[in-house]
């Protein structure tokens, strides 16, 4: 059985983001990068399945981006993926979800993957489109935002999170693609010996030009912080007067005194 997990490297969300020179994406200088949180759930689930199925199963991790994404790839290898594909692209942030999905689909075509895991969405772009688009392009069965997973005899049983805490269970025949949500599992820390051993696992590098055939369908035209809201209201006067003002504001602007 052939498994694929697609991961993205994203900035640490505690970073301070500044627009880049063109004002269409964030400036990468000084940002610390790590594996997208939802992709960690995807890797963990894929590795668990790989461990359950044992010999004869191959788990590949794929990532698109500049050289820095190799660190995220190596983490996935240290967590238990067998080998990796690094699609080299120094301009990945300029591509839309359609193009990213097309690159992945072009790579996957003809390679007989049975099951693909992706994160539900990336923490930076957050489109939640790549996984489902890949499935559509490949004609794979697909379900999203899974919080439970099981596989047996060519059938995936996935528990999905719906609005309002309601859960649903979906069964899919392989080939299939699932997108993974918080709550699916607790990703393991890669052990240090496995981090060191991951050095010996194969990472195939492919220039993005070899796989890019689709045109851009959507362009990000602006990246900016929200306009600053006005500061708080500073009340002045003696205490009795202040209390009346505060009560009036609470009645007017909030529900606490109604």
């Amino acid at each position: 059985m052939k498994l694929l997990v697609c991961i993205k490297q994203v900035p640490d969300l505690e970073s301070r983001f500044k627009p880049d020179a063109a004002g269409v994406w964030y400036n990468e200088t000084d940002l610390a990068f790590r594996m997208n949180e939802y992709d960690e759930y995807a890797v963990e689930q894929a590795v668990q399945l790989r461990e359950k199925l044992g010999e004869g199963t191959e788990l590949t991790v794929l990532s698109i981006g500049p050289d820095r994404v190799v660190e995220a790839i190596k983490k996935a290898l240290a967590m238990g993926c067998d080998n990796a594909v690094h699609i080299q692209d120094t301009a990945v942030s300029a591509k839309d979800p359609w193009q990213i999905a097309s690159i992945i689909s072009t790579y996957v075509q003809g390679k007989n993957f049975d099951l693909i895991f992706t994160g539900m969405q990336s923490q930076d772009r957050g489109s939640a489109q790549v996984g489902v688009t890949v499935a559509e392009q490949l004609g794979f069965a697909c379900t999203t935002t899974i919080v439970g997973f099981d596989y047996a005899d060519g059938t995936v049983t996935a528990k999905r999170e719906l609005e309002g805490g309601i859960k649903g269970v979906v069964k899919l025949k392989t080939p299939a693609l699932v997108t993974c949500q918080l709550g699916l599992n607790v990703p393991r820390y890669p052990t240090l010996p496995n981090i060191m051993k991951a050095k010996r696992k194969e990472i195939t590098a492919i220039p993005v030009a070899d796989l890019l055939t689709a045109d851009l369908l959507a362009t990000t035209t602006s990246f900016h912080p929200p306009a600053k809201k006005g500061g708080g209201i500073v009340l002045e006067g003696d205490v009795g007067e202040l209390v009346d003002k505060v009560i009036a504001i609470l009645k007017d602007k909030t529900a606490v005194l109604r």
């Binding site: 660190e71 820390y189 981090i195």
Partner: protein
């Protein structure tokens, strides 16, 4: 010249940071104040399973083969969250390394895997005595040969992790007539050996969760095969291994200094006095600048010493320089951090108070600052005479 970390080193640093933030930081204050060591024990076990107890140890003994730079990075990240955990990890690594360096195959296989896997919560390093601190060659614990055994009598003091150490590396005088330092041998003694008594636990200023005890040898009989390395060659081993341990303690101090400065700097951007953020005042800006500059210099000294050790170069002088500068810089950083928080910094509502207590010992254990200066100057003067 290449100053960047490898991807493996970055991943180890990230793993240590993620683990420290998720598992160590939430219990650090509670471990500092309480008597329950269970959370420490649980975390030591997890750290062992992840491979943090034998960073610079070969895979065949259960180590991670990650190297000395990775060791330094890991200790710094762990210490940012919990210095007590960090010192335990640092000493465990040192014990594994000394056994790897001088033990025979049987000794290596008997003990290193147990420390690396967490089967032993810790290993002990039994060198210091009540009358032999900075001058360990003046020790008085004796090991007397009796047939196929050695019988130890005497006591050690300030032994990290003693109540839960599975094995101790212990130094004792085997030839009391030999010139100073020439009649000491090294032994591997398992916890629970009859005659090995764990004495009173010290009440310390900081690093509370890490136990520090007296060790008493009362006619403690060990087989002659417990000797590690050659007869009367033990002191040289101790000196060599303490050198590596200094990188660990310098890295630990760096973690504390960075944690204190990060906390205080963030606070200074939130706290308002005289109608403005206190980070607007030059007095605090200079504390921020000096604190981080010194810690960055300390980091580079540590990386240099670690790199030299990892690459088989001499590193005694560099390790002492790194230990001296990192621990004293970290003490200054904690002092500044408390100034920046003012009265709040002195309370236990903020972690600076704990960092300040935890950091003080780093300029004392594994060789005081004064001993480091002695080593550094001796190494330098040697080239001028």
């Amino acid at each position: 010249m290449f100053l960047d970390l490898t991807e493996e080193q970055k991943l180890i640093q990230d793993t240590a940071r993620d683990f420290a933030k998720a598992e160590l930081e939430p219990v650090a204050a509670e471990l500092d104040q309480g008597d329950d060591r269970a959370p420490l024990m649980a975390n030591l076990k997890k750290l062992a399973e992840l491979g943090f107890m034998g960073l610079n140890v070969k895979g065949e003994y259960g180590g991670s083969e990650a190297g000395v730079i990775a060791f330094s990075l890991a200790i710094t990240e762990i210490a940012r969250a919990c210095a007590s955990t960090a010192v335990t990890v640092s000493v465990n690594n040192m014990v594994c390394e000394v056994i790897q360096a001088v033990g025979n195959e049987e000794q290596k296989m008997a003990y290193i895997p147990k420390i690396c896997s967490g089967e032993y919560a810790a290993g002990g390093f039994g060198l210091t005595e009540p009358g032999a601190g900075s001058d360990p060659s003046g020790m008085s614990t004796q090991a007397v040969r009796d047939g196929d055994f050695y019988v130890l009598n005497g006591s050690k003091i300030f032994i990290t992790s003693a109540p839960y150490a599975g094995v101790f590396v212990v130094w004792a005088v085997t030839d009391k007539d030999a010139p100073k330092g020439k009649g000491i041998s090294c032994f591997l003694i398992e916890g629970g050996t009859p005659g090995l008594i764990i004495g009173k636990e010290e009440k310390k200023m900081g690093q509370h969760a890490s136990a520090t005890n007296e060790l008493i040898f009362d006619n403690c009989r060990v087989p002659a095969s417990a000797m590690m390395g050659k007869l009367n060659d033990g002191f040289r081993i101790a000196v060599a291994e303490l050198t590596g341990g200094r990188i660990g303690i310098g890295s630990l101090a760096l973690g504390l200094g960075l944690a204190a400065m990060d906390h205080a700097t963030k606070y200074s951007t939130e706290r308002t006095q005289f109608g403005q953020k206190i980070s607007n005042f030059q007095a605090l800006q200079w504390m921020v600048a000096d604190g981080y500059t010194e810690l960055e210099a300390a980091r580079l000294l540590l990386m240099s010493a670690a790199w030299r050790k990892e690459n088989g170069k001499s590193f005694a002088k560099e390790a002492s320089m790194a230990k001296l500068f990192a621990t004293e810089s970290a003490n200054r950083a904690c002092y500044s951090a408390m100034q920046m928080l003012g009265g709040y910094g002195y309370t236990q509502d903020y972690p600076i108070e704990r960092f300040t207590r935890d950091v003080r010992i780093t300029a004392i254990y594994e060789g005081t600052s004064e001993i480091q200066r002695l080593i550094i100057s001796r190494e330098i003067l040697r080239n001028f005479s």
